[in-house]
């Protein structure tokens, strides 16, 4: 057996090459697995992969749609980068996104009859603040009671979703909407301006790129960013240096809440244009993959958000052209994350051929002894 002949050995120091190669490898493996999957579904793999990953970008419309999906992904991902750098495992961008959309949408509906340039900024700011408030709950639970943020943020995601469902099934339902669980369409004063006429891409893409630039500067040029990195790398060193753990925890969670909230309200005041149960499409979760695939580096994250945006479009394309289910999107995202985590093992370990005549319990021992 081949598994008896190879073993994992810790590298003397982490491999920089592998850190950058790992996402590429993960993408290649995802494409191969995807091809096999298509083949097993009776499709020509090359044609199917082309339909999934290339065809969506064959015209300007495709590219603007890509931007429409990159914007919310990138906003959420930049917020999550801050949290993950500090090793605050905020899984709650989804909930913060939904609350931002719900809060902003609520205000926009209240101001349905009001005309004025100030309506849109007010809606956006309120939406972002709702995201902040949702993240503040997780921050409070963590700093005050030591509650694990992974659990609290996941639970808060479900609460947020149920608030949204309650809203669109109840008080926020469009009275003239034939009892569909949807709000009325928002007014033009509460709608984000588009970048090009006739396309859906709106100015939230600028928000996202601006956020990426700001977070990059924060993390690489300022003391706050440095403190966040130290806290994530080594809590004891952060305490020793006198960095304030609780304050930093609040900071990263609130920033992430604000950015995810802005993404949510931009979605509601942009491509969706009303409140529906489906305002998110899982952007808050997909953004987690974006952050890791992009190696927590702003440039990488921009590229990764484009790839993840493409999986959304590819899923729709596959549904239309190949009559395959749209849930392929989730499948591809999942495979990508799985392969990425697998390949990341090779950053600090390498595969070696075991010397012959040793018994096979040794590979495990090797791992233990050097871990």
């Amino acid at each position: 057996m081949i598994f008896n002949q190879i073993a994992l050995e810790k590298r003397p120091s982490d491999s920089k090459t592998m850190a950058y190669l790992s996402p590429v490898l993960a993408i290649v493996l995802t494409l191969i697995s995807g091809g096999l999957l298509f083949a097993s579904l009776g499709q020509d793999p090359i044609h199917a992969l082309y339909t999934f990953f290339v065809a969506p970008l064959s015209d300007l419309y495709g590219w603007t749609e890509l931007g429409t999906k990159v914007a919310p992904l990138l906003l959420c991902a930049m917020g999550l980068t801050l949290c993950f750098k500090a090793k605050i495992w905020n899984i709650g961008a989804e909930g913060q996104f939904i609350l931002g959309g719900l809060g902003g949408g609520y205000i926009a509906l209240e101001l349905l009859e009001v005309e004025g340039m100030w309506v849109l900024p007010a809606v956006l700011i309120f939406g972002a603040l709702c995201g902040v408030a949702w993240a503040a709950l997780a921050a409070l639970l963590k700093t005050r009671f030591g509650a694990n943020e992974i659990l609290t943020t996941i639970m808060l995601n479900y609460i947020a979703l149920n608030w949204l469902l309650y809203g669109v099934h109840g008080p926020l339902k469009d009275p003239e909407g034939f009892n569909f669980p949807e709000s009325a369409m928002l007014s033009e004063f509460a709608t984000l301006p588009v970048v090009f006429d006739d396309y859906r891409l709106n100015i939230s893409i600028y928000f996202a790129l601006f956020a990426a630039a700001v977070i990059w500067a924060l993390m690489s040029k300022t003391m706050v960013g440095f403190q966040i990195s130290v806290m994530g790398e080594d809590k004891a060193a952060a305490r020793f240096a006198g960095f304030k753990e609780n304050r930093l925890t609040w900071f990263v969670l609130l920033m992430c809440g604000g950015l995810a909230g802005l993404a949510g309200v931009s979605e509601v005041t942009g491509p969706v244009g009303q409140l529906t149960p489906y305002i998110s499409s899982g952007y808050g979760y997909a953004a987690i993959i974006v952050v890791f695939l992009g190696r927590m580096h702003p440039v990488g994250i921009v590229m990764a958000s484009m790839l993840l945006a493409l999986t959304y479009m590819g899923g729709e394309m596959a549904q239309m052209d190949l009559s395959l289910p749209k849930s392929l999107t989730g499948l591809f995202q999942g495979m990508l994350l799985f392969y990425l985590l697998t390949c990341d093992l090779l950053i600090s370990y390498r595969i070696i051929r075991k010397a012959p005549q040793k018994n096979h319990s040794q590979s495990a021992q090797k791992l233990n002894a050097q871990a």
């Binding site: 982490d14 440095f226 130290v230 006198g242």
Partner: protein, 521 residues
């Protein structure tokens, strides 16, 4: 026939060779020393004998027969016992329960019978031990006895002791040596790992010296001078002797006044009514076996723990309620015991690690990092403290222990602290780096800084401190000028016996200075 014989043992780890063609043999009843600096490969060799690590090459003969030790259980079956530097005892179980856990089932028929055997064995070897006591109530020395008795219960033919004296007071060391002599008289071989030459000369019949994973020499310690052995340990290029003038200091800078403290951690040592001061321009040394409250005291001085303001003062200013950052503004520099994972972030570059405590000077402006100045500061530390590294962007974890410690101490000293607190400044550091570090501390003292050094290394404390004291079970002994405290006196203090005080400072000394020569290497 030799009891054990190692031939041509080689063990490689990624990036280093821990043992290279090492040969070693021990007779029955022989006490054999394995000497070498930290990182010389002593521990790896012992782990190979005990079956924890498998060698890449070479063979081992046990009583003349070639064996491949499969693991610690197999080693114990052969008659090899090992006492590690860090004990593996369950604190919440009794002595007898701990020992029962490590014996094969067939040997533990009843706990009562076992208790009797424990009492018999411990009496026979002069190591008082009550099998009914809980391990957390035992001193470190007593815990070591549990480990040794546990080996002796199993008809041991070779006992390996890894730096057994580093956790003991001088008096406890004597008791241990008596036991070891008795064991060797009864035919048990002993492998004694240490880097304290005087102990080895007092105890061992033969010595093998390792340097950089290879054998650099063998000798009969009783017929060899300390200098000759030290030369074999460190090589030819390192100076061996140091001699520092004592200083008397000026105004007190750090004042601890009636400090009592109990942290939330149930295993922390509560501090009981501690008072002392450190003057500007002097070095105060605190001796003591680890775990007697040093960590707690230091984190109250560094600001990682806080308490009522007036308990800690920097130059008359109450600071015990302040954060580490504010205390640094007042002139605190701090060198913690843990280099990686507190004093430095392992995965970050040296530049980033310079910023870790250097952020308050001109390295930052209004929260923005001045990269050029950070780089310049890093270079300055590397040059002035002779840090061997691939460059200022190398990760902290890529540095050897000694180089990283030079870097951390340099980082603190170059910020011109008024008070420098060092915990175990040269622990695990090679002799060359240790000398550089001590020089730097003396130089800083002569520039007028107050320096507090906490260490388990008594020789070092005698060499650099101007006044000395000891901490035991959260209480501080009296403080006295170093040359008025005999090694015996300090040993009593370390064991918690604070009577027979050589009264503080300049009044006549109760004990003449008989120490120095005896222990300094």
């Amino acid at each position: 026939m030799k009891r054990i014989e190692l031939k041509n043992i080689t063990k490689r780890y990624p990036g280093c060779i821990a043992n290279q063609s090492v040969a070693l043999s021990v007779d029955a009843g022989e006490i054999h020393a394995l000497l070498g600096e930290n990182g010389a490969g002593k521990s790896t060799l012992m782990k190979i004998i005990y079956g924890v690590v498998k060698p890449d090459e070479g063979e081992m003969l046990w009583e003349g027969k070639a064996v491949q030790v499969q693991g610690p259980a197999h080693a114990r079956k052969l008659g090899i016992g090992m006492v590690f530097q860090h004990f593996s005892l369950f604190e919440t179980l009794t002595v007898a329960e701990n020992i029962a856990l490590s014996l094969p089932k067939s040997e533990v028929k009843s706990l009562d019978a076992l208790k009797e055997r424990i009492i018999d064995v411990s009496k026979h070897y002069g190591m008082q031990l009550d099998p009914n006591r809980y391990v957390h109530t035992l001193s470190i020395g007593e815990q070591q006895r549990v480990e040794i008795v546990r080996c002796l219960l199993q008809d041991v033919k070779l006992l390996i002791l890894d730096e057994p004296t580093s956790v003991l007071t001088p008096q406890e060391v004597e008791t241990l040596f008596k036991t070891l002599h008795q064991l060797s008289d009864e035919g048990c071989s002993i492998l004694f790992i240490s880097h304290k030459l005087d102990e080895v000369r007092a105890l061992c019949d033969n010595a093998t010296i390792l340097r950089g994973g290879k054998i650099s020499g063998d000798c009969i310690p009783k017929d060899t001078t300390t200098d000759e052995i030290a030369r074999l340990m460190v090589g030819d290029d390192t100076p061996l002797t140091e001699d520092y003038q004592k200083a008397s200091g000026g105004q007190p800078y750090l004042t601890i006044h009636r400090l009592s403290y109990k942290s939330n951690d149930p295993f922390a040592t509560p501090l009981k009514d501690i008072s002392f001061d450190v003057k500007a321009g002097e070095i105060l040394g605190i001796a003591g076996v680890a775990g007697n409250g040093q960590e707690e005291l230091l984190s109250l001085i560094s600001g990682e723990e806080t308490t009522q303001a007036a308990a800690v003062k920097f130059a008359e200013k109450a600071v015990a309620h302040l954060t580490p950052e504010k205390r640094r503004v007042l002139g605190l520099g701090f060198v913690p015991e843990e280099r990686l994972g507190r004093g430095a972030v392992p995965d970050m570059s040296l530049e980033q690690n310079a910023l870790l405590t250097g952020y308050q000077g001109d390295l930052t402006q209004k929260g923005w990092i001045n990269t050029a100045k950070v780089k310049a500061f890093t270079q300055k530390i590397i040059e002035q403290f002779n840090v061997k590294t691939a460059g200022s962007l190398a990760q902290a974890k890529s540095l050897s222990g000694g180089n990283l410690q030079k870097y951390i101490i340099g980082r603190e000293i170059l910020q011109n602290p008024k008070l420098l607190v060092c915990s175990h400044p040269t622990w695990g550091v090679d002799i060359g780096a240790a000398i550089l570090i001590r020089h730097a501390l003396i130089e800083l003292r002569d520039q007028g800084a107050a320096i507090l050094v906490v260490s388990e290394d008594i020789d070092e404390l005698y060499s650099i401190s101007d006044r000395i004291c000891a901490i035991c079970d959260g209480q501080l002994s009296p403080v006295a000028p170093t040359n008025e405290v005999s090694i015996n006196q300090l040993g009593k203090w370390m064991a918690g016996d604070f009577s027979s005080v050589p009264t503080d400072s300049n009044t006549n000394a109760a004990t003449p200075l008989t120490n120095a020569g005896g222990l300094t290497s």
